[in-house]
Amino acid sequence: MLQRRARVVVAILVVITLTFAILDLRGGKGPFATFRSVVGTAVGSIESVGAAIFSPVLAVGSWWGTWGDQRDQIAALQAQNKALSDLVRRSAEDRARADALDGLLKVAGAGRYRITPAEVIAVGPEQEFSWTVTIDIGTQDGIERDMSVINADGLVGRVSAVHRTTSTVVLIVDPSVSVGARIAGSEEVGILSGTGDQNSLEFQMLNPLAKVDVGQAIVTFGSKNGKPYAPGIPIGEVTEVRGTAGQLTRVAAIRPFADLTALTIVGVVVRPPRTDPRDSVLPARPATEPSATPTPTASPSSSAELLEATPQPSPRAS
């Protein structure tokens, strides 16, 4: 065991300890109050130095502790921000969609077409030289081949293929498409064909002596049972007349009303009107626009070209 001297030392220490404990347990301030405050001051000052030394380390600890919280908070705020900006963007989109649907409804109401609205979900690749789009309705929505497709501005195309939930629409600008059309306000008919150019169609009049004027509107002539084209749908307006009256073929360039490069909401005419709506679907034209006035006196150059049949070569004759 311990050496004699060590044993004595330990015994003394134990006695001191027990004395301290008993004196402390007697309660009150006791004899240790002063001693305690002296030791407390000394140790306290050492501890405050230690605290100053360790505080950066502890700060790192608390930084680690709060780091996760902050990351969570950042993630939550980012998610919220994304949701809100989505909402803002979508509300603008929704307004545009509502406007498009409104216009479509107006057209359908004016022409008494029964339409099924659809959204363009895909556009055919341009390098395939076929101007087609895919819409999000198909056989299960009652869509059949050769139905007319319109939007709020006018004719878009016809359904060329139907699947269960989607359909393919071939646009009127496709070079393979021909549409029977009529000049609004007259009985002159012709054949409209696509050129592959998004902003231009070719209107070939059957009557070479027909009176046609820049700014006049073209509507569909209508087919049997409204297929492939329902009657009375606005197509576009004449921007240029090539050739002169009396020539074997007279061709007018037509700018389509519908913006075929930016299609979103379209309507498929699932049932054509019982009677031809004639020109009632055409938008009201502002009278201030001189080129839009169909009266022959309004535009002397074009009326001269039309009526006098001067054998002037067309500047863009090809």
């Binding site: 311990l2 220490l13 027990l18 301290f20 347990l25 140790v43 501890e47 130095v49 230690g50």
Partner: protein, 169 residues
């Protein structure tokens, strides 16, 4: 010789108390606070033997009892640390004391001290002992001491052997 030993022990004690009260207790670790002072008592007892370990334990315990932020009965820590020093020096022969055994010894003594402190405090009429959390305190206290053991015991043993080889065990 004596001066050197005194210096080593004083520095060890100051570092241990400061680090424990100003750093380890503020880390907010789950369960018990790592008892660095107790580990240093065990380390001194292993390095210098039982009697020097008990003297060091007495000093450390008295200082802890008087120091701020401890509110136990004065003398309890001193008594417990003396017992811990005796156990650390005598439980296993220094020649058989491999590192795993040393770590296990530190952890076991820590658990015993925590348990004995709870018993003593409640016997002496201290109502703050929460027996419900005793198991958790024992487990975490022993774990923290086991982690601290190699960090404290082995460097201190090297320092003691280098500077005071005459009295080293």
């Amino acid at each position: 010789m004596w001066l050197r030993q005194l210096l080593i022990l004083t520095v060890t004690l100051l570092i241990a108390i400061t680090t424990q009260n100003a750093f380890l207790s503020r880390l907010g670790l789950p369960g018990a606070t790592p008892d660095l002072v107790l580990v240093s008592v065990i380390a001194v007892a292993m390095a210098y033997g039982a009697s020097m370990g008990m003297i060091y334990g007495f000093a450390a315990g008295i200082l802890l009892d008087f120091a701020p932020s401890t509110a136990g009965v004065i003398g309890v820590n001193a008594l417990l640390f003396m017992a811990a020093a005796l156990a650390a020096a005598r439980a296993v022969d220094p020649r058989d004391r491999t590192v795993p055994i040393m770590i296990a010894l530190v952890a076991g003594i820590t658990a015993g001290v925590i348990l004995a402190r709870g018993v003593l405090d409640s016997v002496l009429g201290h109502p703050t002992v929460v027996w419900g959390s005793m198991a958790e305190l024992l487990l975490t206290g022993a774990l923290y001491s086991a982690i601290l053991a190699p960090i404290v015991v082995m460097p201190l043993g090297l320092v003691v052997k280098k500077f005071t080889p005459e009295v080293a065990v």
